[in-house]
Assembly symmetry: C2
DNA sequence: ACCGTTTTTCATCACGCGATGAAATATACA
DNA sequence: TGTATATTTCATCGCGTGATGAAAAACGGT
């Protein structure tokens, strides 16, 4: 490969490794991704990956830990008109995931979640606390018991997760090839029904 | 382990291997499951797995290929009263998956789907053709373009898949611990709205 | 009682994995 | 210039994997 020793130009090798890791993790998930494959893609010796990151878990944490955090996005939606909440949510999530990086991030998290119990816990707690907990708190409908509200919020989340699975993982053509607008027309009212009663 | 040679009693060793494989595939999916782990669980030498099955793919095919086929179930539902279709579907799928073996099968297929592109194609085609294609054909609403109907069927499928992911994989407590009746009350009308307009 | 067949373990092979410590080279700063 | 430091590859180790061929033991039919 390259000669030994430090490279001439001021290249961001560490960044290249992270980028390569993101690509590899997003196809195949956690277990199926090898440090050697990451190194290969980054054009780098496997030992260098170990030099920068303590091990595979640390590398994974680095990759998923740099979040385009959805809190801001969510806040804006929750302050919009209440009768548009379902459609706004649907559109926001779809646009978030339809971007190339969002899509990549979703696939990555999903695949790792499926194959790695630890990731599932992380994602579960994040979703419950940071996303849907906030929604429940914001659009609270006092006429229903809290249990019911939470179930409804969970089902709204289920609809979005299922949608993403169909569109990005399973790629069922009826869903994968539909336009964002058409999907928002259908899913918006459903979310509205779950969340604002 | 055991002495060499054939075992005394008329044990169904092949069946034990299949059972062990089912258990192992269902936790960890395709890639993360090793033939050695299957053999270990079955109390058998790894080479014996190879004796009965040509290799890992063949073993996997054997395990997922024995289907409790949902066609019959589906047929019964489609002949029931149309205004109950959403609730019937929701209840049927939930009961199917809530049984221990159904749950296991779902986890297995899901994990393999997530980590193995080939499985995703299989599942996609099966869902489109055998399940939701039939629903669309049966409850066809001529006032909407076929494209729209198919999107709606796909979204109904998404809701059920997402529900199962939340309940069985992510185990978000709000959804995982709810009763079947409560979920049917909420999801039934949503499916009804997607499918029968 | 014999012999062919089936079932089972044993002993390997080659390979890819994650990890580690040492060596080589470029940069940074005095 | 000289020397400390950061960056990078090299050479391994030990382990688990999927696969294969041969040997041993029980069964089944005659």
């Amino acid at each position: 490969m390259s000669p030994r020793g430090r490279r001439p130009g001021g290249e961001d090798t560490r960044g290249a490794i992270v980028e390569a890791a993101r690509a590899e993790f997003s196809r195949g998930g956690y277990d199926a991704t090898s440090l050697r494959a990451v190194a290969r893609r980054a054009g780098v010796d496997p030992a260098l990956v170990h030099h920068y990151f303590a091990g595979k878990p640390a590398l994974f944490a680095e990759v998923v830990g740099a979040p385009a955090d959805p809190s801001a996005l969510l806040g804006a939606i929750l302050e919009g008109p209440r009768e548009e909440l379902g459609r706004s949510l649907a559109r926001a999530f779809l646009q978030l995931w339809d971007s190339p990086e969002g899509r990549t991030r979703f696939e990555m998290v999903f695949r790792s979640t499926a194959s790695h119990e630890e990731s599932a816990s992380l994602l579960r707690e994040f979703l419950a606390k940071e996303v849907f907990g906030r929604i429940v708190a914001a659009v609270g409908d006092p006429s229903a018991p809290q249990e019911r509200q939470r179930l409804r919020a969970g089902l709204a989340a289920s609809q979005m997760v299922g949608l993403a699975v169909m569109r990005f993982i399973l790629r069922l053509s009826w869903v994968a090839e539909a336009s964002v607008d058409d999907i928002v027309d259908e899913v918006g009212p459903v979310l509205q029904g779950y969340l604002v009663r």
